[in-house]
Symmetry: C2
Subunit: 219 residues, 2 copies
């Protein structure tokens, strides 16, 4: 059987060098190409496809500074190409990241602090059409199917976004043409659903869960 060819996607040269060194050190794995963000990854895939040398697996970081992020890139790949499974390799294992990646169609979710051997297994697994999940990712998905979970309504998310810009209740009320009382009612509901008891904690929680974007987020 031929080698498993990997497309590396990570914005840090250092990390790409590390993955290249680590993966090429394994039998049966080689690097097909590298990209520094999601858009570059799509271009690489198009280029490789034209050459008839589609990679067997895409190893993708989630957070990528300025460029297209990993979730978007994963969704794009899934939309455009049937072929290469996407294996997420990232630093964080928060619910939001894991769920977003899985929803985007990732075949696996691994953490960068995983030992090399686990990484090798995951790459081979994904290339073979299987899935590879870090323990916490697996646990989360199991938990999610048993607990549907109370989610925020669109209106609540909207208020949360305004909240995060630093507006007072009165200012929010004016902005969306409702009374201050209604704003407070919404906020109480939001706090309850997020499990917090004040507005700053709500912003922190909502940002963490990617319900809203961080104030001043770029891209």
């Amino acid at each position: 059987m031929s080698e498993v060819r990997v497309l590396l996607v990570d914005d840090h040269p250092v990390v790409r060098a590390g993955l290249r060194a680590m993966l090429t050190g394994f039998d049966g794995i080689s690097i097909a190409a590298e990209a520094s963000d999601g858009r570059a990854a799509l271009q690489e895939l198009a280029r490789l496809a034209a050459l008839g040398g589609m990679p067997d697996v895409v190893l993708m970081d989630l957070q990528m500074g300025e460029g297209m992020d990993g979730v978007t890139a994963t969704a794009e790949i899934r939309k455009l190409h049937p072929a290469p499974p996407v294996l997420i390799l990232t630093t964080y294992d928060t619910d939001a990241d894991i769920l977003a990646a899985v929803e985007a169609g990732a075949s696996g979710y691994m953490l960068k602090d995983a030992p090399p051997e686990q990484l090798r297994q995951a790459v081979l697994q994904a290339a073979a059409g299987g899935t590879a999940l870090a323990p916490r990712a697996a646990a989360l998905l199991m938990d999610r199917i048993s607990n549907p979970g109370t989610s925020l309504t669109p209106r609540e998310v909207q208020l949360l976004e305004l909240l995060a810009t630093g507006l007072s209740n009165r200012a929010i009320a004016k902005q969306v043409f409702i009374s201050e009382a209604t704003v407070k009612t919404h906020l109480v509901h939001i706090y309850g659903k997020l499990g917090v008891d004040n507005r700053t904690a709500a912003i922190a929680a909502a940002t963490q869960r990617r319900i809203i974007r961080p104030p001043g987020a770029r891209g």
Copy 2:
């Protein structure tokens, strides 16, 4: 002249592999040892010191999961050993991170997305007793000496970070062992400097200006 010997400190095997591959690829740089967190780094230094083979520079990540973080480790190194300069190599370039690192006695502050050549220069620079700063870090420090009055003090930045996690004034006070009155005083100063009049707006402004990381940006 002999080689510059580097102690790598990063919790990710992949990143260490990348740095090792990259740095050993340069003439005049070699890896003395590696450590996966601050405590391990201190132990490595003690071991190397006993062998009479102190490294010429410590290349340290700031965020290190479970173990001792990079700022603490840097401060410890500065306290215990006169010798090896510490060069920070990290993902974020917010004021908070930069200030904390410089205060802890770091000789430089570089970002992981820096091109290899810049990294090489920085390592050599630091090893030679100089400093190496990423553009944003340099700009920040310049700004602080030219207009001292308008920028936030380290203490204020620290409170701002706690603020962004959703803590109440009382909780912040307990966290940093000061009175609630002092917290309020600091907040008033912060609001003034940021041109806002409440805590959520302060978080939004500080995030936008990259004084602090977005609430819930992990790592």
